[in-house]
Amino acid sequence: MTFLILSLGLFLVSGIPIAICLGFSSLLYVYFYTDYPMTILGQSFLFYMHKYSLLAIPFFITSGFVMGRTGLLEKLFDFAHELLRWVHGGLGCATMLTAVVFAAFTGSSVAEASTLGSVSYPIMKKRGYPPSLATGIIAMGGTLGILIPPSWPIILYGVITDVSIAKLFIAGIVPGLVLGLLMIILIMVIARSKGLTAEKASKAGIARTLGPAIPGLLMPVLVLGGLYGGLFAPTEAGAFACTYAILYGIAVDRMRFLKALPGVLSESLRVTTMVFFLLGGVGLFNGILANEYIPQKIAQIIIGSGFSPTMFLLAYMGILLVLGCLVDASGMIALTVPIIFPTAMAMGIDPIALGILVVINCELGAITPPMGITLYGVSGVTKVPIETILRGVIPFFLTVLGFLIFMVFNPVLATWLPAAMYQPIFPSG
C-alpha cells in the first residue's frame, strides 16, 4: 500500500496526466507485488466504461455547448433581467437566475460561465457594476451548473460508486435551488451597499422577452420532467436535451449554427475524452484497491481511531477543499472517492448525501486558484484579470462554504426529495 501511494504521489507531483498517474502506479504494483496476469490492465481500464449511464456525460456536455451557440442564453437573460429589474442589483440577480435555468441543460461549469460571461458582462459593465462583482457573479453562476442536475461530476460520482444517477440528480435539486436563492439574496445585499439601485419593472418588457425565452424555459421542464416522470433514463434525457438543442439551433440560425456544430462537437469530445481517460485510470487504481482490500483497511483504521461520521465528513471536506486548489472536479472525484467511499459506507454515511457534498466541494474547487477552471473561463471571455475576479468571488465562496458546512450537519436537505420520490412499492415489515 505504501508503494502504491508513494508512487502515485511522485507521479502526480511530476505533472503526468492524472489518469496515467493512477494507471502507472497500479501497473507497477501489479508487476512487483502481485501475481495477477497483466491482462488485468486492459480489463480494469474498461471496468467503468461498459456502463450505459456513462453516455449521459457526453450528451449533457454537448447539449450545454450547443445551447451556448444557439443564442438561447441571451434570450433567457433578457427575460430574467426584465423580471428582476425592480430589485437592487437586478442585473446581477438576472445573471444568477439565468445560470440556474441554464444549469438545467448543461453539465459543464466552464461552458456555462463562458457563455454567461459573454452575454451579461458587457451589460453589467455598462450599468456601472464593478468588474470584480460582475465577474464574481458570473463565475459563481457558472459553478451552479455542477450541482443543479444534470451535471457530469454527479454522473462520474454515480458511475464510480454505483449509486443511482437519477436519485443523485434529484438530490441535487433542493441544494442547488437553495444555493441559487442564497446567491441572489447576497447579490441584492452587495448591490445595495455599492449603490446599484433598482430600476422600474415594465409589464410590456416582460411580455416582449417572454416569447423568445420560452424554448429555453421549456427545455428544463421537458428534460427534468421527463427524467423524473419516468419517461426516460438520465442517458436518454441527455440525448433528448442534445437533440432539442441541435434542432433549436438549426431552426433559429441554420447556416451559422451548422458551421459552428463541428467545433462544438470537438469541444464536447475534448471534455468527454478527458473524463473517460480519467475513468480508465480510476478503473485500474480501484481494481488494485479492491483486490488488496485497501479501503477496508483504511476504514478499520479510521473507525478504530474513534472518528465520528461528522468529524470524518468535515475532514474529508477539508481535504477536498485543498485538493480543489490543485485539480478540477473530475480529479477531485477520481483521486478521493474510490478510497473514501467504502469508509463512508462503513460509517453509515448516506451515499447520496456524500455525493452532493462532494459536488458542492467541486463547485468551490472550480472558483479557487490556481486550478479554478471557471475563473480562467470567465477571465478569458471578459478579459478581467484573475485577481479582480477572485476579489469578487470571495463573498460567494464564503457563502457556499457556509452552506457546505450546514449540509454536513443537515444532509437531509439532499436526501429527503429522493426518499420522497422513490417510495418502496411494498413497504417492509
Binding site: 503526468i16 481517460f277 480529479g331
Partner: protein
C-alpha cells in the same frame, strides 16, 4: 521529419477528429430515435444500448491523442508552473521535470499496449461479446483501445522531442 509531422497532424485533425465527431453525433441521434421509438411505437432494439456504448467508446479512444495535443488531460502542474515562474536555474528544473513526465507517460503507454496485445488475444480466443448484443464482439473495441494508446505514444513522443529540443537549444544558446 517535418513532413511526417504534417501528415500526422492532417491524419489526426482531419480524419480522426471528423470520425469521432460523426460517431458522437450519430450516437446522440440514435439514442434520441430510440426514445421516440419506445414511447410512440412501443418498440426498441435490445442491442441499442450496447451499440451506443461501444460506438461512443470508439470515438473517445481514438480521440485520446487529440485531447493530449490540446493539453486537456488534467494533470497536477503546480510544481512545474511554480518552478517555471521562479525562472533561472529553476526554469531548467521545470523543463527537466517536463521531460521526465513525458518519458514516464510514454513508457506507461508502451507497456499498456505491450500487455494489451495479450488482452486482445484472450478476447479473441474466448469470443467475448456485448451483454445484450451477441453479434457485437468486443475484441475489435479492445484493438481500438490499443490504437488510441498507440496514438498517445506518438503524441507523447512528439511532446518529449519538443521538450528535449527546447532544453538543448536553450542550453547551446
Amino acid at each position: 521529419m517535418g513532413k511526417i509531422a504534417c501528415l500526422w497532424d492532417f491524419f489526426q485533425d482531419k480524419i480522426v477528429e471528423n470520425v469521432s465527431r460523426a460517431l458522437l453525433l450519430g450516437v446522440m441521434l440514435f439514442a434520441f430515435v430510440e426514445v421516440v421509438r419506445r414511447y410512440f411505437l412501443g418498440d426498441t432494439y435490445i442491442w441499442y444500448q450496447d451499440v451506443a456504448v461501444y460506438l461512443t467508446l470508439t470515438a473517445v479512444f481514438i480521440y485520446f491523442a487529440i485531447t493530449l495535443k490540446a493539453n486537456a488531460h488534467i494533470r497536477l502542474g503546480l510544481l512545474v508552473d511554480y518552478l517555471e515562474r521562479r525562472g533561472g536555474v529553476w526554469k531548467k528544473a521545470a523543463a527537466t521535470l517536463e521531460i521526465l513526465a513525458h518519458s514516464l507517460s510514454l513508457v506507461f503507454c508502451i507497456l499498456f499496449v505491450w500487455y494489451g496485445v495479450e488482452f486482445v488475444r484472450v478476447g479473441v480466443e474466448f469470443g467475448r461479446h456485448a451483454e445484450n448484443a451477441d453479434f457485437l464482439l468486443l475484441w475489435p473495441f479492445y484493438i481500438i483501445l490499443l490504437v488510441g494508446f498507440v496514438f498517445l505514444i506518438v503524441e507523447f513522443a512528439r511532446l518529449l522531442y519538443a521538450a528535449v529540443t527546447k532544453i538543448t537549444v536553450k542550453g547551446e544558446a
